[in-house]
Each structure stands twice: as C-alpha cells, then as structure tokens.
Amino acid sequence: MARYVARRLLSGILTLWVIASLTFFLSRAIPGGPFDSEKQLPPAVLENLNKKYHLDWPIWKQYLDYMWRLIKWDLGPSFRYANQTVNEIIAQGFPVSAQLGLMALAVAVVVGISAGIISALRQYRWQDHLAMTLATVGFSVPSFILGSILIYIFSYRLGWLPASRWGTWDRAIMPVLALSAFPTSFIARLVRSSMLEVLQQDYMKAARAKGMPGYILIYRHALKNAILPVITFLGPLSAQILTGSFVIETIFAIPGMGRTFVTSIANRDYTLIMGVTMFYSVLLVAANLIVDLLYAVVDPRIKVAGGGE
C-alpha cells in the first residue's frame, strides 16, 4: 500500500507538472495580453509594463523562472490587482469558497444519498417519481438560472432573505441550495440506479429471504456497493466545488476564488491563471488519490494497487 501511495504521489507530481506546463503555454498562446483594453496603451507604456512583469524575457526563461517559483509556491504578483500577490488572492478567496463548498457538499451527500435510497426502495411509486422529477429539475436547470430564480422568489418577491454577500447563515441558504442542486440530483440518481442493481443481486434476495432487517440490509450490503460511483463522482467534484463556482459567486456576490478563475482568463492575468489552476489541480490530484484509496475501503475486493496483467 505504501508503495502504491508513493507511486501515486510521484505520478501526481508529474501530472501537476504537465498541467502547469500546458497551462503556461496555452495561456500565452491565446490571443490578447494582460494589458490590452479598449483604450490601447501607447507602445512605450506597454513596454514598461512588460518589463516590470518580465514579459519581455524569452518564453523559455519565463517558463523556467515560473517553474522555480512554483516549486517554492511563490505564485507571483497579479497583473490586474496591481497591489496583490496571487498567494494573497488565493488566501483571501479560498476560505470563503471552501466554506460554501463544504456546506453544499454536505447537503449533496446527505440529501442525495437519502433520496436515492428512498427512490430505489420505492421504485415506480410516488416517492420515487417525486424524488426523480426534482432530481431532473436539479440537473436540467443550471446554477445561474436556479440562483436567479431563488433570488427572485426569496429576496425580490418575499423579501425573506438578503439577495447577496457572505458572512451570516441567512446569506448562505440560497447559494448553498443553488450550488448543491446539481450534485444532489446526480448523487440521488446514481444511488438509485446502483441500489436497484444491487437489490437485484442474488445475495440480496437471499438475505431478504433469510429475514435480515431492512435497514441493516441497506447499509451493510446495498449501500456499500451503490456508493462506489458516488465516491468516483465526488473526487473531482469536491476539488471543483471547494475552489468556488464562478456563477454562484457572481450572482450572490460572494468574495470567493471561483470568480478569480474566469476573470483571470478574461484579463489574461497570467500569474493568476497559473496560480488558481495549480491550486485547484493540487486539490484535484489529492482528491482522486483519496477516492482510489477509499475504493479499497468500501469494496475490499478492489485492488487499485494491483500490478495489472
């Protein structure tokens, strides 16, 4: 096991290096630079700015310089937010996004799994239809529409909740709902469908015939097997959701780092693009490693570490 983890860590670092390199060159390959705007800067001013941020260096030198700094996790200054470093911007935004994300993940896991179980056990009865129709709405209505509808109903029409910003529990309700709608629905569907499969298995039928109580059966056998695809899905999802959602943070004016992702690209803020991408990728690689380790816990038969054929 230790050898497996070590090997995965090594390949994880390799993955991060590939992502960093590709992002570095891609961001510079696309048209437009950080200082382009409707008002064109005079060439001299542009030159000064390029010099200030070492954009006048040959690209390989910029790349090596950046990689060296990346190893030290010194992500450099932001071009757009002239007084801030990328490390500072992440340090400010991430706690907020993570807080929101953890709440949404909790809702998604708890509600999604419960709804999935109920649906499976009551297949084609009203509980199932209700849960699955809600789930359909949950993933066919994207978060920007859902968020707007929530604001329209609960802030604009009813005036019950503040429309935006962050910090108090009443401000968290709508963004958490909007952010968790998709994963909740997806998890509910996954659990339902895997549960149905498991419930069809002979050993389940046998256990039921032997008179094993329902909830033990569900927990010990059905759920353990049904949870596998949920864990798979939760890997990349948690990395995404913890680093914030552009849409939710924009609509609800939440000072997280989700907005940074999209605006940094729009601004061609190279260091910020790199910084948030690498931060997210580290989480992603870690989350996927945890997922693989969890596989073995949930289903002892799985041997991810196995040497192959």
Binding site: T15, I30, M132, S193, L196, L284, Y295
Partner: protein
C-alpha cells in the same frame, strides 16, 4: 494464483457449452422489454415529438426566427405570439423551436460521445489496472485540471465558428466524467467471480469488457449519459458566448435561457419557455434511460 497450472480450453470444446437460447438475441430481447416499459415509451415519444416540432414549426410558422419587430419588444404570451416576444420583438415560439435543432443535436452528440469514448477509455483503464490505469487516469486528471476556457479560446482561433467546432470542443471534454465512473465500476466488477471465470476460460479482454463488465455497469453509465445532455446544452451556449458556436440571430435553448436569466422581473416568459423545454427534454431522456437500463441490464433478464 499460478496461472501456469491452468490450460486454456480449446475453442472447439466450448462450442457445446453455450447456453442454448436461440429464439431471441440479447438486443432483440432488450428491445422487446423496452417497448413494454411505459415510461420509456413516453420519453421516446416526447423526444420524437420535439424533433418533429423542431423540424416543422420553423417551416410552417408565419414568423421566422430572425424577423424583428422593434416596436413589439417583450410582449407577453398571446394568441399572436404563443411564447411572447424577445428584446427585438421576435417570436419566441419559433425561436424556441428553432433552438431545439441545435440543442437537441448538441445534447445527443455529446451524450453519445461521453458514452462511446468514456466507456472504452474507462473500461480499458479499469480492466488492465496498474500502470496502464495510472497513466490513463493521470491523463484524465490533466484534462480536468486544465482551464477549459483556455483551450476553447485556442480552438476558436484555429477553427471556424460553427456547429462542427462546438462538437469538437464538446468531444474533448464530455467523456472524462464517464471515463472515471466506468473505470471505478470496472475496478470493482472485474474482481467478481464471473469475470474471473471468463478470464480463466480465456475469453479475450474486449469481450469480457463488452459482454460482462459494461452491461453490469449500465446504471451509472446511463445516469451519466443523461446528465450529459443538459450539461452539453448549456456548454454550447457558453461556447457560443466565447465565439465558438452558432452566431446570432440563431439561438439555441442554452443561449435563449442564458440571455434571459436576468429578465425574471420584467419578461419572465423569455426564460420560462426555453427552460421548460430543457427540463421536458431531460425528463424524457431520463425515462428513456431508466427503461434502457431495465431493458439492457443482464441481471433483470428473465
């Protein structure tokens, strides 16, 4: 286990051992069961109706998708304009039906892509495991990690905007979630006795994957494929927004909804109708998906 101690059975010897069930093939059987699945048939009917509407409404309507009447902007639904009008006084019924062409195509395509590439990739990675798995999954991680906007912008520069470009962009990203799910399922399923048995019998890997592993992972596969439909519909609108997709005044459901999401206070119908059609399509796909799963799942085969 020492594999040396086992001898592969000659193929001829297997001939007599196949379970004799010549009357129906797997697929015939599945189709028969699908037809009996009422909700699935309802879903299928809705999808067919939507396709017909998308084809014929724009041909038969007195309005065209791009015909403006600036003095009639933001009219609520009426006998004249069933779904009301938009910001330039265009008929939203025709625009919504025209939009169905793009959105349905994009949804189908992306779901299919996720299905084909994702299943093959995920199954190979999971089945062979070890180093193969490690490399293949790290490639998936790289695709996950790269900011999509970056290579979409690059695509935009390299290719001409249009539906074809949208398909390429969708094909790049749509399958990675599916690949991970299938790989996870296969990792688990391949340790089951029946797979072991098949392997010992010398059944080639692709056959094990296709005949034993994939059918047993159908549940999560179909859920993932259905979710891919709305995801693709909205990704298309975002790609069009970046300049990759179909150009205005042609609109898709995604771009109709995206343009209207701020209109709830003043012109809610501009959001409600495209949104409603996306949800109806989704429900239909889901019913069909449930039916397909029931029909294809070997364990439910009686």
């Amino acid at each position: 286990m020492d594999l040396q101690r086992f001898q592969p059975v000659p193929r001829e010897a297997l001939a007599g051992q196949e379970i004799p069930r010549p009357s129906t093939t797997y697929w015939q059987d599945a189709w028969r069961r699908l037809r009996r699945h009422r909700l699935a048939m309802l879903g299928l009917t809705v999808i067919v109706v939507l396709i017909l509407l998308a084809i014929f409404v724009p041909m038969l309507s007195p309005y065209s998708y791009d015909q403006q009447n600036l003095s009639k902007a933001y009219q609520p639904p009426s006998a004249e304009h069933w779904f009301g009008t938009d910001n330039l006084g265009r008929d939203l019924f025709v625009r919504t039906m025209f939009g169905a062409r793009i959105s349905l195509a994009v949804g189908f395509f992306s779901s299919l892509m996720a299905g084909i590439i994702g299943i093959i990739y995920g199954a190979i990675s999971g089945y062979f495991g070890g180093t193969v798995d490690n490399i293949m999954m790290r490639i998936v991680d790289v695709i996950y990690g790269l900011p999509t906007t970056l290579y979409v912008i690059l695509l935009m520069v390299v290719l001409k905007p249009g539906l074809k470009t949208i398909f390429i962009a969708l094909a790049i990203t749509s399958w990675i979630g599916m690949a991970r799910i299938v790989r996870g399922q296969v990792l688990s399923l391949k340790e089951w006795e029946f797979v072991l048995a098949a392997r010992t019998l010398g059944v080639p890997p692709w056959k094990i994957i296709w005949r034993h592993l994939v059918p047993n992972a159908l549940g999560p596969i179909i859920v993932t494929m259905t979710v891919e439909v709305p995801a693709a519909i909205f990704t298309e609108s975002w790609l069009s927004f970046l300049g990759l997709g179909v150009s205005a005044p042609i609109a898709s459901w995604g771009s109709l909804a995206a343009d209207a999401y701020q209109n709830l206070r003043t012109a809610p119908w501009t959001l409600i109708f495209p949104g409603l059609f996306i949800s109806i399509t989704m429900l239909a796909f889901q019913f069909l998906g449930d039916g397909l799963r029931d029909a294809l799942d070997p364990r439910m085969r009686k």
